[in-house]
């Protein structure tokens, strides 16, 4: 039973790591700010969820699991707002400079 649980937890951790990797590759490879945000926020939130779930299984305690859930919710919230702010800013910058919408501001 515990072996099965551990294997499942490890699988979740691996899935999380894969999503992080995908998000990071997207961050580096995608051409402009909006698509980078797309890669980063979506993939990383799934990745974090999966890692939190895996860690909760390994800890095997309800208290820890709830804490990890709280962490994930906070990270989700913060990522939402900051991604929103960055996206707005990059759109504004693009409008100001008259260039293609979504071009990276730097």
């Amino acid at each position: 039973m515990s072996l099965l649980l551990d294997a499942f937890a490890a699988l979740l951790l691996l899935i999380g790591a894969f999503f992080y990797l995908a998000g990071t590759v997207g961050l580096i490879r995608f051409p402009d700010a909006l698509s980078r945000l797309h890669a980063l926020t979506k993939a990383d939130n799934i990745g974090l969820l999966s890692i939190c779930a895996g860690s909760a299984l390994m800890a095997g305690e309800l208290r820890v699991a709830l804490l990890l859930l709280l962490i994930w919710l906070m990270a989700l919230f913060a990522a939402t707002v900051s991604a929103h702010l960055i996206a707005r800013r990059s759109l504004r910058d693009a409008e100001d400079s008259g260039a293609d919408a979504g071009k990276s501001p730097s």
């Binding site: 906070m74 707002v81 929103h84 730097s106």
Partner: protein, 308 residues
């Protein structure tokens, strides 16, 4: 071994990216990432207290302070300095290589001579249980070597007054970025503000037994303050009202008065009478340091309810 090398190499590469070449803005971002990796390094080395302090103060607050200064300098439109002459950089290279060699050599020599017999730390580990504290770092900071901490709070106070002296005028016209007008910010601030305060107070209380304490808590409060300033919830004020001034000095004052009070009843100077005094002093320090850092970020003498 692999993780050691990975983190150590990461630190050096990030420092390189932050310091050499590239735009200054990029350098500042890299410096903040450097702080994050240093946080991981402290955690990996086995010091959660330092990891927390580095994340909150070393990377977080310092990064925010440098960013806002950069933004202000851009607004002032000061003359960007020219690049250095090659002759100067050659000399600098020689000096830097020598310094690297020296620090590397003495560092290696020092760790090869490690005996694991640090007298002071051994005595500390033996004495700690008498204080009722479980966290040795809090023990050192508040009980054993509290003169350091007292003077350190005074350093923070001095930095505030000195910064006011440097910025001159008793007004709040140092520029701040405009607050973004988005409906998402309000729920974020409304959720984060009480949560941050709860976590800060928890850190303060947990600091007596587990990693945490006044400094980390004060940095959290400072981060909250910075968020409130940036979102326009709190604005700079032209003068510090008496409450703000009291908040600035309460850390130093409570520390000194507890210390002197012990002297009056015949105990040694700055002796800590009990665990309640630890909490009292730490709470006062948390308020003072957090408030000072927010004021230094806002670049203003005081704070007002809403940005005008």
């Amino acid at each position: 071994m692999v993780i050691d090398v990975f983190l150590a190499l990461g630190l050096v590469v990030l420092a390189w990216q932050a310091l050499i070449g590239g735009s200054l803005f990029r350098g500042i971002v890299m410096f903040i990432v450097f702080g994050m990796v240093l946080t991981l390094a402290w955690a990996w080395l086995g010091s959660p207290d330092l990891a927390m302090a580095e994340a909150a103060i070393g990377a977080g607050v310092t990064g925010a302070l440098i960013m806002i200064a950069y933004w202000r300098l851009r607004r002032i439109n000061a003359v960007e300095p020219r690049d250095p002459s090659p002759a100067r950089s050659r000399l600098a290279l020689v000096i830097a290589v020598l310094a690297t060699g020296l620090v590397g050599a003495i560092g290696l020599a020092a760790v090869s001579a490690l005996t694991g017999d640090a007298t002071a730390a051994r005595v500390m580990n033996e004495t700690l249980p008498d204080t009722g504290l479980g966290n040795p770092i809090t023990g050192v900071l508040i009980v054993f070597r509290n003169l350091d901490t007292l003077l350190e709070v005074a350093v923070v106070l001095a930095a505030y007054i000195a910064a006011r002296a440097a910025l001159g005028r008793e007004s709040a016209d140092l520029p701040l970025p405009p607050a973004p007008d988005t409906p998402l910010l309000t729920p974020l601030v409304v959720t984060l503000a009480p949560l941050t305060m709860v976590v800060a107070i928890y850190l303060l209380k947990a600091g007596s037994q587990y990693p945490g304490g006044a400094f980390q808590a004060s940095a959290l409060l400072a981060a909250l303050g910075v968020l409130l300033v940036l979102t326009g919830r709190v604005g700079p004020a032209a003068a510090a009202n008496w409450l703000t001034r009291a908040g600035l000095v309460i850390g130093t004052l409570v520390f000194c008065l507890v210390g002197l009070g012990m002297l009056v009843i015949g105990a040694p100077l700055l002796a800590i009478p009990g665990i309640w005094a630890v909490y009292l002093i730490e709470a006062a320090m948390m308020i003072s340091i957090g408030l000072t850092l927010v004021l230094l970020f806002a670049g203003a003498p005081g704070l007002s309810g809403k940005r005008s």
